[in-house]
Symmetry: C2
Subunit: 297 residues, 2 copies
């Protein structure tokens, strides 16, 4: 079973990388350096978890069209945009990400800011290709609204701003949950919700799915904090103990390692329970979510 999952995972991630690559620009013209920086940032690896969750939720809800593809690529672009800007000297000042030099180390700070901007914009430009594919599909506008809402002031960017503002200062548990829910959770919620919406999910189903996705997001981020303490630098492809270095309050510093590990398991199971209440099935998606507990990178 486990090997089978790993094989499936590998196959699907390869497929997703190929979908994403199809939406990346040619490195040509006067703005070639920018185009290179954009492609460099997109091609340095990563788990492609968000497009994978989107695709598998789409399949679970019975989606069959390729209209999901531009949204899968768009989601990874939004995510990569946030990584480039998070790594900047004015933010986390990280030199390595996924085992490779960060964008500003390779291309300089100005070009990294612009590459991040360009990727956020390219996400919308890419998603907007869906209008040409199915001009009369009213779900595309709704998917657009979810993408923009979960990325913005009340989503990922809002969460990141609180994370940055309180770096080195004590956080209440309420603030920490707010940051996790927004900074990491919002894009995971958006990924699964867009998959469902494009497959024609009802409002009630979408509500339940959002709750499930929120649990996935929390479990994922807490596991990230755990790996920053227990992880292996080589496997992770980035420096460990960076939270301590940056004097960050994390779930582990607030609750302790053991409680954090228990909570990852609890949130993952709650996500599965909520998914199981929906009248659809996707065994791979179920396993993927459970897999998040055991990941080491």
């Amino acid at each position: 079973m486990s090997l089978n999952f790993d094989e499936q995972m590998k196959k699907r991630v390869t497929e997703i990388k190929s979908v994403i690559a199809g939406y990346l620009p040619e490195e040509d013209g006067f703005q070639r350096t920018l185009l290179e920086a954009v492609n460099y940032s997109m091609l340095v690896g990563g788990k492609k978890l968000r497009p994978l969750l989107m695709q598998q939720t789409y399949v679970m809800f019975g989606g069959k069209s390729s209209v999901i593809k531009p949204f899968m690529a768009a989601m990874e672009m939004v995510h990569t945009h946030s990584l480039i800007h998070d790594d900047l000297p004015a933010m986390d000042n990280d030199e390595y990400r996924r085992g490779k030099k960060t964008t500003h180390i390779v291309y300089g700070e100005a070009m990294a800011i612009l590459a991040g901007d360009a990727l956020l914009n390219l996400a919308y430009e890419t998603a907007a290709k869906a209008f040409d594919m199915e001009p009369d599909n009213p779900c595309i506008g709704r998917a657009f609204q979810i993408l923009a809402g979960k990325t913005g002031l009340y989503g990922m960017i809002g969460g990141q701003s609180v994370d940055v503002e309180y770096a080195g200062k004590p956080l209440t548990e309420e603030q920490l949950h707010f940051i996790y829910r927004l900074k990491t959770g919002a894009l995971i919620e958006a990924s699964m919700m867009i998959g469902a919406v494009l497959a024609g999910a009802s409002g009630e189903e979408l509500e339940k799915l959002q709750q499930a996705a929120a649990n996935v997001g929390l479990a994922f981020q807490i596991q990230d904090d755990i790996l920053d303490v227990t992880g292996d630098e080589e496997t992770l492809g980035k420096a460990v103990n960076s939270d301590e270095k940056n004097e960050k309050t994390t779930y582990v510093t607030v609750k302790g390692l053991e409680q954090a590990q228990e909570d990852v398991a609890r949130y993952s199971k709650e996500a599965i329970r909520l998914l199981d209440e929906l009248p659809y099935e996707n065994e791979f998606l179920r396993e993927l979510i459970l897999h998040l507990i055991h990941r080491s990178a």
Copy 2:
């Protein structure tokens, strides 16, 4: 006639500010500092030229719905996003803009990067409200594509990247035109094109309008270069001679002041000539474009 134009201009800009203000966030919640930085950046003044061009082109093509409003606000958000990031220490390192301290001076560099990101995203979130207003209007998706295309790698951000990369280095006239066409021209083209598309313009009309807008964009940017040399710091609300300080090749350094002034007049007249070929009229839009020649700020 001239006073009348000034009065009309003032009235319309006031209206546009009120439309934009309606799409700005409440300053509330844990991410309050980010929300304040976003509103600060949006409310420090400016000519609102892009939403004004969009609105007036919409009116010219017979548009009558309020579906234009979220796009007007979105355009100003994209523009303000670019100003915040252009002013950053890693880019132009400017302390003043429109007579007020720049966003990173007031809120710090990290928050300014995030405020810029948030505004670019809020542009799409705001424009996406149009889907709720007219769910069956196929022009909205097309307007979205124009906004994203003209902002991105082959529009404003692409132009800005070449401007940044060649700062302090000699530019060919071809490169200079490329930068002007993209960095400044692209959003002016998008503004007028979105106005036309949402009012139901044909492909042929749109093509002509884009040419007219490209001429407006060139005239506008060359006038900017001229004002950097001949302008008054107080009237402009920003430092003059900044191009010299930043060792930038500009239209004025390449062509000389006199030729630059002649070319502003020429491009403006060409824009008017192209507009006059369209079977629609808007006297205010005509005057607005001619006005660009005489502006002192």
